[in-house]
Structure formats: C-alpha cells, structure tokens
C-alpha cells in the first residue's frame, strides 16, 4: 500500500499550492496578491480550459475543499464525471450511492454546494475522486483530512484503498505538523513556552436560538430545514479561550454566524458578554481568505477604516504587533523557513491575510472573537503561535476568544473551557459545557 502513497510536508500554504500546481498544472487564483495577478491567472484558466494537454490526468483535492467544486449541486458534480464513462440513465443513482459511500445522506445530492459545511465538501471531494478513478493516473491531495472530524478519517482510508488497489499513485501535500491518519506528529508543541495570555472570563447567553433555512425551488429543489440549539443552562460561565467542537455538518459554523449576528434566529437569542459588554461576536470564517472580499491583504485595512482614522491606527498597530511577535517566535523556535510571512515588505500570504482580518476585528472591540478552524492553511507551529498571539492581543483589549476546531490536541495548553455540540435528533442540537 505504501509504495503508491507519497507524503510531502510544507512550511506554508503558498508552498503547498506551488507543489499542487507542479503536480497538476492547475494554478489557483491569487487574490491576496492583488487584482492584476488574479485577472492574469483567470485569463490563463480560460485560455487553457478544455485543451487536451493542459491539466495532467489526475484527480485532486484542494486544501480548501470548496475550490475543487465547479457545479451547483453534488449531483451535478458527480453526474458530470460519471457521464463520461457511464450510461446517462444510471448516473443519478450512482451519484447518490457514491455520496452514501462517503457518509453523505441522499438529501445532500440536491443541496446547493455553497450551503454545504467544510467537512461535507471534503467528503464530496472524496466521492468525486472515486468517480474519477477509472479516468486518471493518480490523486493529488492537499491537507485531505484537515476539515474532518476524526471519526470520519475512515472515508479517507477507503479512498486511499480504492486508489491503491487500482495501482494509482497518491501524492499528499501536508503542512508541517498536520494531523494525518497513521502518521506520527513531527513538530514540537510551542504553547507553554511563552508568556500566558491574561485570563479573561466571559459569558455565553443562550436562549435556545432556532434558525430556519427556507425551501429552495430553483435551480434545484431543496426542502426547508431548521436547526434548534438547545441548552440546559441559559448562561454559560466560560474562561477564554474556549474551544467549540462537534461532528461535521452539525452546525458549528451556523452557530458562529448566529452569534456574530449574520444569521438572525426566528426564535430565541444568543449573545456574548465580556469586559467589552454584551453583543454580537466578530467572526473569522474557516475559509477566511474569502473575507478579504476581493481585496489584496495590503488594501484590506485601508478599505475597512477609510472613515475611521483612530481605529485604522489601532488596527495597524495590532497587525504589526502580531506580525512582529510571530516573526520573533518562529525565528527563535523554528527549524523551517518563514515563507508563511511572505517576502520583506510584502503582504500577500494566507497567514498575513489572517492577521489582517484579526487586527480589524480586535480594533472594533467586540465582546467575543470567534476563530473558525484558525489553523487551516498553516503549519502547526505557525497556527499555535498565531492563535497564542491573537489571544494575547484580544485579552489585552477585553475580548474573549472562541475557537471552532476538529483538532483539540493542537490547542492543548491554551484552551481554558470547552463547549460541545451534539445532535439529539434531526434539527435539534444540544449545546453543553465540557468539564476540563
């Protein structure tokens, strides 16, 4: 089995993507580098689309699983691939079977791709890779289990077995220290070697919020669904940073959006209360790179603070504090290069994008900052140093921090309280504090 699998480690998301481009001849659109670079790459994509020799005959899974999906629903994604070698009448049934094979219910087949959770998207990528198996020479996968709950690693093992049994090569690109099935963790834990962030108490005021997503009829049909977050207590006494965990697709990101005031509950409410008062949280999404909203890293702070010079200065100072501390920490304890922090004087990497988004949020002084999978796209050491520095800066500004993650071990020594989401029945999610 081993002979078909090669695992490569990289220091940064950018190096990982360079490797991916080399292996597949597919380059991603680099919005963080500015609009000219983005348009240039878009032009190359359009020119090469459909030409016989441009992409190599491999299937791939990208570090951000939404980027490999080019059709509106899972049924379309799988149907397009299957139709290349199957009778078109059997395609839809086969697509549903494939989804079931990777733990996705048949009602996901018609759900819009943009409404799937990160973990569900990754499982859909597995199903697509399996569908492509008869037509490709191998699989190139970047961080292929990062967005999955550990209980679902079996689906990756199953995909690996399918490719290996058919003598196809599998190239896996991981970030240093990334958790991977049957692989030893190879980097040291850095937390605990630095000054602890000041301890900060905060409260989650949850009055059983319920959100409803109405029925969609067009372009594909998807029935109405709702999520009701129930808890035995109304007031959770927590110590920041707080870890929020739960299975894939349970509704962690939806809860985060409700807490941030992005989604309004139809009944009940949920607020955070800390030194900065009571209110909505600010949120860094798991695919945070999209929160730059078509801006380069350099332009984002100028844009956000065009009408508030005082906060602009505060945000720039928070940005440079975090970046300086990170550089120092990584320089002191790292054996790897600092490519994640870009070239001198340039801000164009994913890590820098995350620092920029965090600086803007801290400067707005919310009661709570939610980091959804903050380690995505970062090596373990960079992720730990970043979250450590964010907690220090946030706590100094009276802001509590909540981390949504499938990798609790990554935040050992940092987490002071934990909330777990569990499914009671369809649409009912229990919210409970976990004793540490």
């Amino acid at each position: 089995m081993e002979s078909f699998l090669s695992i490569n480690f990289f220091d940064s998301y950018e190096e990982q993507l360079d490797h991916f481009a080399k292996m597949t001849k597919v380059s991603l659109l680099p919005m963080t580098k500015g609009r000219l670079a983005f348009l240039g790459q878009l032009g190359i994509w359009f020119r090469d689309y459909g030409s016989e020799d441009a992409p190599l005959p491999v299937s791939y899974i990208l570090s951000n699983p939404s980027q490999g999906m080019s059709f509106p629903t899972p049924a379309d994604v799988l149907g397009t691939v299957l139709a290349m070698y199957m009778d078109t009448h059997n395609v839809d049934c086969e697509a549903v079977d494939l989804l079931a094979e990777f733990g996705l219910d048949d009602d996901k087949a018609s759900q819009s791709i943009v409404s799937l959770s990160g973990g569900e998207l990754l499982l859909l990528n597995y199903a697509k890779a399996k569908a492509m198996l008869p037509m490709v020479n191998g699989l190139v996968a970047c961080s292929p289990v990062y967005w999955l709950n550990k209980l679902r690693y079996k689906y990756w093992d199953a995909l690996l077995a399918d490719y290996t049994n058919n003598s196809r090569a599998i190239d896996v690109a991981l970030l240093e220290g990334e958790e991977f099935p049957n692989h030893e963790d190879c980097t040291a834990i850095v937390c605990g070697q630095q000054t602890d962030p000041k301890r900060l108490r905060w409260k989650l005021l949850a009055n059983n919020p319920k959100v409803v997503f109405p029925e969609i009829q067009f372009p594909s049909h998807h029935p109405e669904f709702s999520l009701h977050f129930l808890s035995e207590v109304v007031e959770f006494d927590l110590m920041s940073p707080t870890l929020v965990t739960g299975d894939n697709g349970i509704g962690k990101s939806i809860l985060a959006k409700v807490m941030a005031g992005i989604i309004t509950p139809v009944e009940g409410s949920i607020f955070s209360l800390s030194e900065n008062g009571k209110g909505n949280a600010r949120l860094i999404l798991q695919d945070s790179i999209h929160q730059l909203f078509g801006m380069s890293v350099d332009n984002h702070l100028d844009w956000a603070f065009r009408f508030d010079g005082t906060k602009a200065n505060a945000a720039r100072s928070i940005y440079s504090n975090i970046e300086k501390s990170l550089k120092k920490l990584l320089n002191e304890m790292r054996f790897e290069s600092l490519t994640a922090l870009g070239e001198a004087g340039q801000r164009s990497t994913l890590l820098q994008a995350k620092i920029c988004l965090v600086a803007e949020r801290i400067a707005s002084l919310p009661p709570l900052l939610i980091l959804d999978e903050p380690g995505w796209g970062l090596s373990k050491t960079s992720a730990q140093c970043l979250v450590w520095e964010i907690c220090k800066q946030a706590h100094d500004h009276g802001i509590a921090v909540a981390i949504i993650s499938h990798h609790p071990s990554c935040w050992d020594g940092l987490i002071n309280s934990q909330i777990e989401l569990t499914k009671c029945e369809k649409g009912i999610i229990n919210l409970a504090m976990v004793e540490k």
Binding site: P72, D76, I113, N280, L285, F293, G294, M295, R306, D308
Partner: protein, 229 residues
C-alpha cells in the same frame, strides 16, 4: 400558473426560444415602441411629458409580465431574492445617476430637473425588469447537460462549446455565491451600505469626498469577490 413555468420545459432549445421571445422588447425595443406610441394617444394631451409617462407605463406593464413568468418559474423565495438584487442595482444606479447629474451639470446636458427625474425612473424600471429576466435566463440551462452532450464532439466545435459552457457557468456561479457573499459582507458591514467603522463620517470634509470612491471600491470588491469565491 404552471404553464408559465419556463424551467419545466424539457427541451432546451424550446426554453431558449421562449426566453428570447420574452426578451425581445429589451433586445430590440419592439413592441414597446409601438405600445408607447399608441399609449400617447390615450394619455391626456394636457399632461406635460405625455411621451415619458407613456413610456413608463409601458415598461411597468412589461415588467409585470416578466415578473409573472419569473415568479412562476423560480418560486416565491428565489423571485424575492432576484427582486432584491434588482432593486439594489436599480436604486443605486438611479440615485447615483441623479446625484452625479446634480453635482456635474454638464452630464445632464440640456435636460431639466423633471426630465432627469423621469429618465432615472425609466432607468430604474428597466433595471428591475432586466435583472430578474437575466438571472432566470442564465439559470435556465444546465452546464452539466451541455458538457455531457459535448462529450462525443471533436475539434473546434468541442473547444467552442466548452468555452461557452464555462462562460455560462461563470455567470451561474456568480449568482450562486452572491447570497453566500452577503453573509461575509454583513459580518464587516452590519448596516449593509454603511461601513462598520465610520467615526469620521460627516465630521471631516474628506469623508464626503471619500464616499464616491468608497462606493465604487465596494462595487469592484463585489465583482472580484464573486469571481474569486
């Protein structure tokens, strides 16, 4: 009104023909031009701007027909979403258009204040009619089916077909992610059209001067975010 549901028609070319027929007034002006002329006769002559008023009434009638077809085809929720997009576009264009003509009179030429207002109302009506129609048009065809049909094609036909499919998919994708992007935008702009951080708004002279560049940057940001997501 199931018979008005264009998307329920199996054959793609019948759908295309019907959609093109519905779009004729936008593409060619026919038969709206004739309708406006006949309406001029009905509109009391003592009313000033009888021509403009007939034009506006004709566009309202046409908008109702288009909306009815879009509503029957996509359902109430999607229809309201399409209308929301159309109204935002329409209002932004009309308000900015009027403000620009007020600020820079040479753009307006010899038009009077009333004429500018009527022109902007007409522009608004056109936008709120055309946007839902365009969204219905773009989403009425399956790129998946197009690609499946192109499977056996060869040579230039296949290359051109694939590029057309890609182009259509880019437009469809933009429509799909736009509602997702609203969530991201709301996180940073909870009041939607006012920046979250606006302490200097109205207190410093350069803030007013920055509103237009900021609004233009916002439009560009939306375009790039839609393409990049």
């Amino acid at each position: 009104m199931k018979w008005l549901n264009i998307t329920a028609i199996d054959r793609w070319w019948i759908r295309l023909v019907l959609l093109l027929i519905i779009g004729i007034p936008v593409l060619s002006g026919f038969p709206l031009r004739d309708l406006i002329l006949s309406m001029k006769v009905i509109v009391p002559l003592y009313l000033e701007k009888a021509g403009e008023i007939s034009c506006i009434v004709s566009w309202v009638l046409y908008a109702c027909i288009v909306w009815l077809i879009v509503f029957s085809s996509v359902g109430a929720k999607k229809f309201l979403e399409y209308l929301a997009v159309a109204f935002v576009f329409g209002l932004t264009t009309a308000i900015l258009g009027s403000a620009m003509r007020k600020a820079f009179p040479f753009i307006a030429g010899s038009l009077t204040g009333d004429e500018i207002s009527l022109k902007m109302v007409k522009l608004f009506l056109i936008i709120i009619t055309v946007v839902p129609y365009a969204l219905l048009f773009v989403n009425s065809f399956s790129v998946r089916n197009m690609i499946s049909r192109l499977g056996e094609a060869k040579g230039k036909r296949k290359v051109v077909g694939l590029h057309l499919a890609l182009l259509l998919r880019v437009f469809q994708h933009a429509g799909e992610v736009v509602f997702n992007l609203v969530e991201i935008w709301t996180e940073e702009h909870p009041k939607k059209i006012i920046p979250r951080h606006h302490r200097d708004w109205g207190t410093k002279w350069y803030s007013i001067a920055n509103v237009f560049p900021w609004a233009w940057s916002a439009v560009l940001a939306w375009v790039y975010a839609t393409l990049g997501r």
